[in-house]
């Protein structure tokens, strides 16, 4: 069974997505819009299941799989070579797994799009998008990788602008594709430089002969690759497209973009910094930690200031990418200083958080999508009391919120715990400079956890609890069964990845060792009795934690039922100092986080404008209306993107002078260029 999967799984998976894409177009062309949508999503579900099985099978078989299509087709070139090693299989599996849940949700949300937009194109790009991500992680060759990278970017661009009747979606899409292409250019430059020194696009050759690259150029290549990949991952300050583009897409695409697509950049960062360049300078590790610390802390602060539920979740992706980068940065530092054991633990922590974030962010985006479908607004200030009409969605959102806040016993806690431990190891073991950077990373992670909890109390509380804040709840109802199933799958995995942590960490440690080729001396991440142990310094037993919490809650029930059984419970109104309570007296999402935003005002620079209108303009005794506008300025556009755009425009204006409009001048330019090139070639 496993052998068969390993042999044919790859083709079967990609075949499903290709079939889904083509079928969607064909059916839509014949006017069967509904069927095209359903078939596209059904085939994506099927392909996702196959991909999940395939990735798991490759992980179990323990050997890298090489697929050479070019050779088989007889055109000799290795441009169509795929190689699925442990790391690739891991990413392959969770990209596929997340698309199963997302596609189920997509199938269930048909009625919201039917008739309004062209569904055939959506189904096509949706399948191409997932297929592109799978190509990215399994390519064994820079050209094929870049091809997949572009396919993924362009397909997701069309998904972002799917609801094109809203102007802001189109604007978000343009910003997204621009930054995406900018990043791809940097990445292309990095690979071109590698080709110049190594003379091959093959990842295998690059791995084997990286010593041919002089040290200075190594650093240049890493810098170019980092800019290109960080822009896709949404690392601050290259994140500005992310909170625009992710919310603009339909919710199940948001879940995939936020939970999975940004991880392809994480995948390539691991390849570049840990695999291609086995001993990069320590400073790269420290830089990654610094970027991670800034992204995680600022990401959660921006999320706190949001009251658009999908933008809030998108900013949390920036935060979680930061947490993953803390782990990767620690791993790079350890490897470069020759402490592979700690490096493997740090990399395992990063991988664990990568899959955890895909699970709970997917879950949160899907349940947010369920809320948006029911209320037709993304503004949290208009929600309230939804737990009564959407109990299941509320429960799933709560599980996701609890997990993303890093609270035990769910999965977010385990990966944050592991990341903490690798940072602690660095603080204890390393020289002074890295010590301080690691300490800063750990500090930012501490505050990130607390602020994320505050942010999700706000998100869950204002969305689901208390009284409705507007008429949005009147027509709200629970989502259909298939949508609930899609969320239930992810919620179940969030719980499993928390409780079964001690069975998962050895697998991840093994993958991390595979990246470094360390398979001979495995790192024991597991001690007996279901405990994750780290060399006597600390140990974590998630089952134990869950059992302790469960017993405590059970005892609480026993105590209360023993002491008070006969007492009456009356349901009555909330006390409000004797005056009738209206929904305007409830706390809003904005005011909930206002105190934290005020505390961090030096970083966030919040602005407040008030307007007062008087009945009588002269005497000004009686106010007619008052308004307060609170906002956060976009500092990145003001101080980074704005000046950069202005610079380019100025340059373009200067360059315009050579545009005379006279044909003879242009011929002269061409002639001169030709002469210069000839001279250069002859030299």
């Amino acid at each position: 069974m496993i052998e068969m999967l390993v042999t044919y799984g790859f083709f079967a998976t990609l075949g499903c997505f290709i079939a889904g894409a083509l079928l969607s177009i064909i059916l839509s062309g014949r006017g069967a819009e509904k069927d095209s949508w359903l078939f596209a999503h059904a085939l994506a579900v099927f392909g996702g299941l196959l991909g999940l099985a395939y990735g798991t099978a490759v992980l179990i078989s323990g050997e890298a799989v090489t697929i050479q299509i070019g050779g088989a087709l007889g055109f000799g070139s290795n441009i169509l070579d795929f190689r699925i090693d442990g790391l690739a299989a891991f990413f392959f599996a969770f990209i596929s797994g997340a698309s199963v849940a997302a596609s189920l949700f997509g199938a269930g949300s048909l009625k919201h799009f039917l008739g309004a937009y062209r569904l055939g194109a959506f189904g096509f790009f949706y399948n191409v998008f997932i297929g592109g991500m799978l190509v990215v992680v399994s390519a064994d060759n820079a050209l094929l990788f870049l091809f997949g990278w572009e396919i993924m970017a362009i397909a997701s661009y069309f998904l972002v602008i799917f609801e094109r009747k809203r102007e802001e979606n189109v604007r978000a899409g343009v910003l997204y594709i621009l930054i995406s292409q900018l990043g791809a250019t940097f990445l292309l430059a990095a690979f071109l430089l590698l080709y110049r020194f190594i003379g091959s696009w093959d990842f295998d050759t690059i791995r084997a002969s990286i010593d041919l690259v002089p040290p200075l150029w190594q650093n240049t290549i890493l810098a170019l690759a980092l800019v290109g990949l960080a822009s896709k991952a949404g690392v601050i300050p290259l994140h500005i497209w992310l909170p625009e583009a992710h919310p603009a897409a339909p919710s199940h695409v948001s879940a995939l973009m936020s939970g999975v697509m940004v991880k392809t950049a994480i995948f390539m960062i691991i390849r570049f910094f840990i695999e291609f360049f086995p001993t990069p300078h320590m400073h790269w590790g420290l830089l990654l930690i610094a970027l991670g610390a800034v992204s995680s802390l600022l990401g959660v602060l921006y999320a706190l200031s949001e009251h658009d539920i999908k933008r809030l979740l998108a900013f949390h992706s920036v935060e979680n990418i930061g947490i993953i980068l803390l782990g990767i940065g620690a791993a790079v530092t350890f490897f470069s200083l020759g402490i592979p054991v700690a490096g493997v633990v740090a990399l395992a922590a990063a991988l664990y958080h990568t899959v955890n974030h895909a699970l709970f962010k997917g879950l949160l985006f899907l349940s947010a999508g369920s809320v948006v479908h029911a209320t037709h607004t993304r503004n949290m200030e208009e929600y309230g009391g939804l737990i009564k009409v959407m109990p299941w969605t509320a429960a799933f959102f709560l599980i996701g919120a609890f997990a993303i806040s890093g609270l035990p016993p769910l999965n977010g806690f385990v990966s944050e715990w592991l990341t903490f431990q690798s940072l602690f190891a660095g603080i204890a073991l390393l020289p002074l400079l890295p010590k301080i950077v690691f300490l800063a990373g750990a500090s930012s992670l501490v505050f990130t956890g607390g602020l994320a909890a505050a942010c999700f109390v706000k998100a869950f509380g204002t969305t689901f609890l208390a009284r409705p804040r507007s008429s949005a709840r009147e027509h709200a109802h629970e989502s259909s069964l298939i949508i609930l199933v899609s969320m239930g799958i992810l919620a179940a995995f969030v719980v499993i990845f928390g409780l079964a942590a001690s069975s998962i960490t050895p697998v991840l440690a093994h993958i991390a060792e595979g990246v470094r080729g360390l398979a001979e001396n495995p790192v024991p991440l597991v001690s007996p009795a279901q405990t994750i142990g780290l060399g006597g310094f600390s140990a974590l037993s998630m089952l134990g934690v869950a059992a302790a919490l469960g017993l405590g809650i059970l005892l609480a029930y026993i105590i209360t039922s023993l002491t008070s059984g006969r007492q009456k419970v009356t349901v009555s109104r909330t006390w409000n100092c004797g005056t009738p309570l209206t929904s305007r007296m409830e706390i809003t999402a904005t005011s909930f986080s206002r105190s934290l935003i005020t505390i961090f005002r030096r970083v966030l620079r919040p602005t407040m404008q008030s307007e007062v209108e008087y009945h009588d303009a002269v005497s000004r005794y009686f106010t007619k209306s008052k308004a307060v506008h609170l906002s956060l300025p976009d500092l990145y556009r003001m101080y980074l993107y704005g000046p950069a755009t202005a610079l380019i425009e100025r340059g373009a204006n200067k360059a315009k002078r050579i545009q005379t409009g006279n044909l003879n001048t242009y011929l002269l330019y061409m002639f001169l260029t030709l002469m210069l090139l000839l001279l250069w070639a002859l030299k």
């Binding site: 609270l407 301080i436 609890l465 310094f537 059970l554 609480a556 002491t563 007492q567 009356t570």
Partner: protein, 303 residues
């Protein structure tokens, strides 16, 4: 056998926590020249509340109803981890990060319960509580982590066992960490100068604002959980940061432990009698100074 010790630990904390609250109140009353209620008064309050009928707001959901059980349960789970008598039993909640984040989980549900009532009080209480939890996290986690670096383990019981064996020089940073943890203790337990535990004035309350709608057995659970939390923090404080008198027979250890706890509780009462509550936007300064003290201590330890 280990399980028995852990259960004993939990039972002791839960049984004695109302007394610790009574001691603070009694000491405060004496400092204000009042006789004050008996130290056993908190027990009577709990018994009374458990017997009372309950009124629940019509706006609330199951979150409001379940939260007291979850919060009380989480303090019981934490109570097992506090080093009291036996220091070799492995408690799963004894890891410092599990400890800090389980506390945060309790705060998470308490804040949600506050928001669930739909009143103005619960909402702003929740907002302030989460602000303080988020900012106190730095001092709380890093002070415990600093002590872990000295002791070479992150398990609370293991730390309490290892620390007394160290020489004086290694314990100097422990003083900084103790101050840092003490600030976190005051903030997390809604004591002066961060919150006033005795007030019901809208402008000043945080913890009380969130639990305003509770009555009857659920209020009893929430109040009991709060006193559990206070005793857990105090016990961790005296056994980790003042780790003396831990060796010896079980009886002397227990006697010394109670003496230390009583001293710490009376110090809290003293502090509350001589200090005014801080303005809410001055609290972050205090919490950040707790964080910075821990940072300095950790740098001294590891460099």
């Amino acid at each position: 056998m280990e399980w028995l010790y852990l259960l004993l630990n939990t039972g002791l904390i839960a049984a004695l926590s109302p007394l610790s609250l009574g001691i603070i109140r009694k000491a405060k009353a004496r400092m204000q020249n009042r006789v004050g209620a008996s130290t056993l008064q908190p027990y009577r309050d709990l018994v009374k509340l458990f017997r009372k009928d309950e009124v629940i707001s019509e706006d609330t959901s199951w979150i409001f109803r379940a939260a007291p059980y979850l919060i009380f349960g989480s303090t019981l789970a934490l109570a097992a981890a506090v080093p009291l008598v036996n220091f070799t039993a492995f408690s799963p909640t004894g890891d410092v990060l599990v400890f800090a984040y389980t506390l945060a989980a309790g705060a998470f549900f308490l804040a949600l319960a506050g928001m669930d009532t739909g009143g103005a009080f619960g909402g702003f209480g929740a907002s302030r509580e989460m602000m303080m939890v988020a900012l106190a996290e730095g001092g709380l986690v890093l002070s415990l982590v600093g002590a872990s670096f000295i002791a070479g383990t992150t398990n609370l019981a293991g730390m309490a066992l290892m620390l007394p064996a160290l020489s004086g020089g290694a314990l100097v940073p422990l003083i900084l960490l103790a101050v840092s943890f003490a600030i976190a203790l005051l903030a997390e337990n809604a004591r002066y100068p961060v919150d006033n535990p005795a007030t019901h004035l809208e402008l000043t309350m945080v913890h009380e604002a969130m639990i305003l709608e509770y009555s009857g057995k659920r209020l009893a659970l929430v109040e009991w959980a709060a006193s559990n939390k206070l005793l857990i923090f105090t016990a961790v404080f005296v056994n980790i940061f003042f780790p003396w008198g831990i060796a010896g027979s079980a009886l002397t250890v227990l006697a010394i432990f109670f003496a230390k706890i009583a001293l710490a509780l009376i110090s809290i009462a003293l502090l509350e009698s001589v200090m005014a509550k801080l303005r809410i936007f001055r609290v972050p300064d205090l919490l950040l100074s707790s964080f910075v003290l821990s940072l300095i201590a950790i740098l001294i330890i590891v460099v």
